[in-house]
Amino acid sequence: MGNISKKFTGIYDRYVDKIYRFIFFKVDSREIAEDLASETFLRGWREFRNNRDIENPPAFLYKIARNLVTDYYRTKGKIQFLSNESILFSDPRTNLEEESFLNSDLKLIKKTLLQLKSDYQNVIIWHYLDDLPIAEVSKLLGRSEEATRMLLSRALKELKKQLEVA
């Protein structure tokens, strides 16, 4: 058991920032990103501890994170809001706190990145923010490396286009 937990500690230390940031870009709230990221690692550890043959731990963690984000939005869709004032999920105060260190350019890029479709967001986050090589990103996407490179190129073009319009 000791070896497995040591191994997962290493995975945790290496990916906690990345998983948190990946989720944060999807939900745009520190509180929610923390909750979902905690849950990602809790589930990841449970699976890992049962000695499942997990070949690619980061891919496995990103998959859990993506599923949790999907569930989160599914829940959000089930719940109707009476008015904008009664929004349950996003606390603007915590977002202001987070964003205080970002200059206006970065705030705009972040906001625009949030508006891109999921595949474009993912490929940009994984390759440029998380430094995953194309080979690894292609495995996460379930596409060939060539298709991943093309997707990345289209994602950047789209981001640039949206920034010019903003």
């Binding site: 906690v16 920032d17 940031r21 979902l36 849950e39 089930k78 009476l82 009664s86 890029i109 990145l113």
Partner: protein, 244 residues
């Protein structure tokens, strides 16, 4: 901005990081799962240290301690919310109690459970426990589905009258949930109950011999039912059933 500049700016978003205290807390939380699972192993080791005379009573002692722990756990479980570790235990306790509920009491008992699920959902919404919302909603939906199933089997007007206060309580809880910005869907609010009950009672009355007055009110009930005003249809059909 050219592509190179854009990529450089994107990389600056790496500044977005989690809080250090959250990172440490989560790490501790994740790996505390590991510590809990070895508790039973360590407890056995603890008992082995003592002399033989103690180990003769080990089975009884272990049973006593287990019973004590269980009772304590059951107590704590009653406050558990959907998504909590002890929530399953709470549901098991409820299910075991439900075995002893008579057929006549089932509609009332099922409504009480649905109200309980709504109260849990309200607590979660009040405390903004986002992670628990999805399981809490599902729990409420399941309990409401059970209520609808049971309600559609009610044929006696007196049974309907018996549960009307519980339905009113459910309506009150649904309103209360709204104040936290959460609104249940149409399928899961009380209109969803009135329909099967009104339908069941209308069918039942149609199979009986009725006075002219009863027939007239029954026709009004059917008209309201067709218009989708199920609560009024139910009121009318209850009125018709009361006339001698």
């Amino acid at each position: 901005m050219d592509e190179k500049e854009l990529i450089s700016k994107i990389k600056e978003l790496r500044q977005i990081k989690p809080r250090e205290e959250w990172v440490l807390l989560t790490k501790n939380q994740v790996f505390s799962l590991d510590r809990k699972s070895t508790f039973s192993e360590r407890f056995s080791e603890f008992l082995e240290i003592f002399p033989r005379i103690f180990s003769q009573y080990k089975p009884a002692l272990v049973s006593l301690i287990l019973v004590g722990a269980l009772l304590g756990t059951f107590g704590f479980a009653q406050n558990a919310l959907p998504g909590d570790l002890l929530y399953t235990l709470k549901k098991i306790t409820e299910k075991s109690r439900a075995i002893f509920v008579s057929k006549e009491e089932k509609p009332k008992a099922s409504l009480e459970l649905a109200n309980k699920r709504l109260e849990e959902l309200t607590k979660i919404a009040e405390q903004n426990q986002v992670k628990k919302l999805a399981p809490a909603i599902e729990e409420y939906q399941q309990s409401f589905s059970e209520v609808t199933k049971i309600a559609s089997q009610i044929k006696e007007p007196k049974q309907v009258r018996k549960i009307l206060p519980k339905i009113a309580e459910l309506e009150k809880n649904i309103e209360n949930l709204k104040s936290y910005g959460v609104e249940v869907g149409e399928a899961e609010n009380t209109e969803g109950l009135y329909k099967p009950m009104a339908e069941s009672l209308i069918k039942d009355l149609e199979g009986r011999s009725l006075t002219e007055n009863q027939l007239k009110i029954l026709e009004e009930a059917k008209k309201l039912y067709e218009e989708g005003d199920f609560s009024s249809a139910l009121t009318k059909v209850l009125e018709a059933s009361q006339i001698q």
